[in-house]
Subunit: 380 residues, 2 copies
């Protein structure tokens, strides 16, 4: 079965929708948040944890896996799913964003983007064709086109030029994707990425060009890179009318729990972000009443779980006091327990949004959620 | 129910025995290996992992918990079992060994041992009385007396003096232990520690003195500190005849899988060691065919599990190639998977030894085990 996406319900009062995407391998209900498994592992967690959290789709990073252990090795070992022990859906990014944010060199030319590995300084070039080849070798379920990244703020002229290059690379990505061989069992989808900075008309032109080429889904890229939140939401709103309602919409690299609600309200189906796991590893978790910096001394004798209303692995077993002790003493278990909790909160929030859409009450649900989220916890 | 220990079977051909120890809280079958949970956590693992591994008794370090979060805090939070979420048995060391091996100062006087915290340089003194107070505040199930540590090699005169101090501290430990209050629900045992370096007669004198004072179990201390293996086993053998056969015998800080077999053969009931977990975190695991340095490049495409005959969490799910990738990229999951495997191997080996003792065939079992252990794996 090839990739499909079905909208199952739309909220009457907002742009929010509930859907399902998938292929012969597996399916994922939307709106969905994708935990980030950069190097073929969601940091500190096991794949069985992710299944226990009911994760239906994960993101992995092409840039990192290209460098180590390399696409040839992963293909030889049967693809990324088999390599990492994950039988559900995997979306892979193109690597373009990591080249831009991590690599020591980032020379964009019409052919592609040259970069030096952040590991050993070796010189590489990502072309649209190579990025397709790598993602297909990994056996990804959702492949992303290579797109050029621009820092915020960017001049209109630079953004316009980037849109031209985005479309040029998107066309080449599409051609290579259609031509190249899949690994056994893979039947991947290809998503295009809308660029255009904070210029709504450039984004509209980009989306039009992408739609003409034709993709299985459309992503909003180049957002959440330092622009004001209002500008980000303006771009999301401006982008929606031109988007094929029968295709999934993916807001890349976003965001906070509040961002997820605001994105779903505007019709976004897919999100990914390192925020819940990265913050957790540094001792800050997300709860139904906002962020909680559990490593703080104020929790040293707090016997409550991270979130007293939460049913996650961590909250059913451990106190803030113990988790604070683990962070205080540098014990990895603290990172694990915090990551488990925050991912549970993110995924549970997505499921509740979906239920609210299906029940036709996304608006009151989101009002209640955001009110509680901004409330904070009583002192112990 | 107070602490009890029962010998259930003795091997006809060796000193090996199978027993059971416990109190009202829980019990542990012996011979037993105690994973080390230094700071109230076995590094990288969850308490549910330890239960899944059928761990029946854990060791925690008094020195570390005394410094952070402190005994008053743990008592206030209901004791170490509740604090860390562990309802089975806990043995706590006295802290003396960590003062000797970790602290910036280690000034032994008749009153106790003065030291500076390795964390902030603050000055402290462990006396036998304080060490009892701390372990009782933690709610330990098996409390260890404070003993002085000597580096190897030590002169006979220094070792003799250390034995005098050992007995002096053991008597004060016993008195304080009997006098001090327990936390609710605790009914701890107190173990004495035999010192005397590599001098069998000094060890005999020490054991005699300890037996006169009377303890619930006897530990062999000051071994595995750099002396040759032959000297260690000589001391273990020399110590056995004087030991009350109705009390558990604990060989502290030992050892490799081969050491466990050699110790059980000589009548040891309890072991603890950081080796399986510490090595695992550095990319070396223990298998039925010896050590395997899984981080080595030779495993980069090896699809076999760490130990093809192993039924642990890791071996049922992951290849050497994937785990090698995790070490190569510095991902914590590698440490978790390796720790899970090596602890499983240690605990499973203990269970198999116990079964062999009960079946009266420890000798042939250990011969087969050691032959396989020294064999190594075929290349992939």
């Amino acid at each position: 079965m090839a990739f499909t996406f079905t909208v199952q319900a739309t909220d009457p009062a907002t742009g929010a929708r509930a859907g399902i995407l998938g292929n012969a391998r597996a399916r994922a209900r939307t709106p969905a948040f994708m935990p980030v498994g950069t190097q073929g592992t969601v940091k500190t967690l096991r794949q069985s944890d992710l299944r226990d959290l009911d994760t239906e789709i994960l993101l992995a990073n092409t840039y990192h896996l290209y460098l180590r252990p390399g696409p040839a090795r992963i293909r030889e070992l049967g693809g990324l799913h088999k390599f990492m022990g994950w039988e559900r859906l995997l979306l892979t990014d193109s690597g373009g964003f990591q080249v831009w944010s991590l690599a020591d060199l980032n020379r964009v030319r019409p052919e592609g983007v040259q970069f030096r590995s952040h590991l050993d300084g070796s010189l590489h070039e990502f072309t649209p064709e190579l990025c397709m080849e790598v993602q297909l070798a990994l056996g990804s379920d959702v492949v992303m086109v290579l797109d050029p990244c621009l820092a915020y703020p960017a001049e209109r002229a630079d953004s316009a030029e980037a849109v031209d290059l985005t479309l040029h690379w998107a066309r080449r990505s599409r051609e290579a994707f259609d031509r190249l061989e899949r690994i056994p069992g893979a039947d991947p989808a290809l998503f295009g990425i809308v660029q255009g900075g904070v210029y709504a008309d450039l984004r509209a032109r980009c989306l039009e060009g992408l739609t003409e080429i034709g993709f299985d889904g459309y992503a909003l890229g180049g957002l959440s890179v330092g622009e004001p939140k209002t500008a980000m939401w303006e771009m999301v709103e401006a982008g929606m009318p031109g988007m094929d309602p029968g295709r999934p919409r993916y807001l890349m690299g976003v965001g906070t729990p509040e961002d997820l609600v605001e994105g779903v309200r505007r019709g976004v189906d897919l999100f990914d972000c390192v925020l819940p796991t990265r913050n957790a590893r540094k001792g800050t978790v997300f709860t139904s009443r906002g962020r909680l910096v559990v490593k703080n001394a104020v929790y040293a004798a707090d016997e409550r779980p991270l979130d007293p209303g939460c049913a996650c692995y961590t909250c059913r077993r451990y106190s803030r006091a113990y988790i604070r002790h683990l962070f205080q003493t540098g014990e990895v278990l603290g990172q694990e327990l915090a990551s488990l909790h925050s991912l549970h909160f993110y995924l549970e929030t997505m499921r509740r949004m979906r239920d609210a859409v299906v029940a036709g009450r996304f608006e009151p649900w989101s009002r209640d959620f955001l009110t509680a989220y901004r409330e904070g916890w009583e002192p112990a």
